[in-house]
């Protein structure tokens, strides 16, 4: 079993200069990344052992976060390096084939879709933008929450105060959500495409602030400066909201519809 091997796919790219574009890259198993070509398309792949990357092994490793973190970074590093020299379609992490023949077959059968996708992604990169709202700052605008004429000893007073706090909390959230909508709309105007993704769980974001926008945008490389300038402007102009930008990423979120077997 340990001798069995599989083919880990990183990305699909144009066949032209594919060899040069993946030269010297090292993959998830420390293997040398190589090219499987078919007519005018190519896939960047690596040979991996199924003892570590087969179905059973991947399931076994699911709880090992360090393992996932390392492999995710390795997978992304290969794709990001290829993206620097031209358009690339990232392949979802943990896609493994039996052999090169299967990869070639796939390039042939999906050729038209891949070509269209590569054209659409040429000269463009993905940028992530998150908006964090500070609930206290937004709630501070609502002054009614602060006063408590009844006094804080009675249970009724407590309940009333608590209800006001919740109402102010909800009002703050509504303000933050409308800010997020405006920011998203403004960024869409600077982008080719964009979408809102679900906000990560608050524990993951590691902050008390609300993540009111987890947006990601496909932006023309030539307009990247304008895009980031717009973010700085929106950040300045929106009280109680902090924007965080990541990128440029390979176009992970813009690979088009799911390609089924």
């Amino acid at each position: 079993m340990s001798a069995e091997g599989g083919v880990w796919a990183y990305a699909v790219l144009h066949g032209d200069a594919a060899e040069d574009r993946v030269a010297d890259l090292c993959g998830v198993a420390d293997e040398t990344v190589r090219v499987v070509a078919s007519v005018d398309l190519a896939a960047a792949v690596g040979s991996v052992g199924l003892d570590e990357f087969g179905q059973d092994a991947l399931r076994r490793n699911l709880e090992d976060l360090d393992w996932w973190a390392a492999k995710a970074r390795a997978h992304d590093a290969v794709i990001a390096a290829i993206a620097r020299s031209g358009p690339v379609i990232p392949v979802r992490m943990a896609t493994v084939y039996r052999n090169d023949g299967r990869v070639r077959q796939l390039l042939q059968s999906r050729r038209d879709e891949f070509e269209v996708c590569l054209d659409r992604l040429t000269g463009r990169a993905e940028w992530g933008v998150k908006a964090f709202a500070d609930p206290n700052l937004l709630a501070a605008h609502d002054t009614s929450a602060g006063s408590n004429p009844v006094g804080h000893r009675s249970g009724t007073a407590y309940l009333l105060r608590r209800r006001r706090e919740l109402a102010s909390h909800e009002a703050a959230y509504r303000v933050a959500a409308s800010h997020a909508e405006l920011i998203h709309t403004a960024l869409l105007q600077q982008a080719v495409e964009g979408k809102r993704k679900p906000a990560p769980h608050p524990i993951l974001s590691g902050t008390d602030a609300w993540t009111v926008l987890n947006g990601t945008y496909l932006v023309e490389e030539a307009r990247a400066d304008r895009f980031t300038a717009k973010i700085a402007e929106l950040d300045q102009a929106t009280d109680g909201i902090t924007l965080e930008i990541t990128g440029p990423w390979p176009p992970y979120s813009f690979t088009g519809d799911v390609v089924s077997p």
Binding site: R73, A81, H169, A199, S253
Partner: protein, 68 residues
């Protein structure tokens, strides 16, 4: 505003942002071994477990009104 982090240079990108893209993004094409959605959820759960056990984070009771 938080400083721009060029993806190809800064390898210390938040793991959340990275997993969000490599596991939820990218083209999905039939392979002999493809992680199912349930498996991806499990990775996310693991991530939560790890982060919450390391950090001194408060339970997210205040997020009920709409962190989604």
């Amino acid at each position: 505003m938080t400083e721009v982090l060029p993806a190809e240079r800064d390898r210390r990108i938040a793991l959340v942002d990275l997993l969000d893209r490599v596991l939820a993004g990218g083209v999905v094409i039939s392979g002999e071994v493809v992680l199912s959605v349930a498996d991806v959820d499990m990775v996310t759960i693991s991530l939560r477990t790890l982060i919450s056990s390391v950090g001194s984070l408060l339970p997210p009771e205040d997020y009920g009104s709409g962190g989604e």
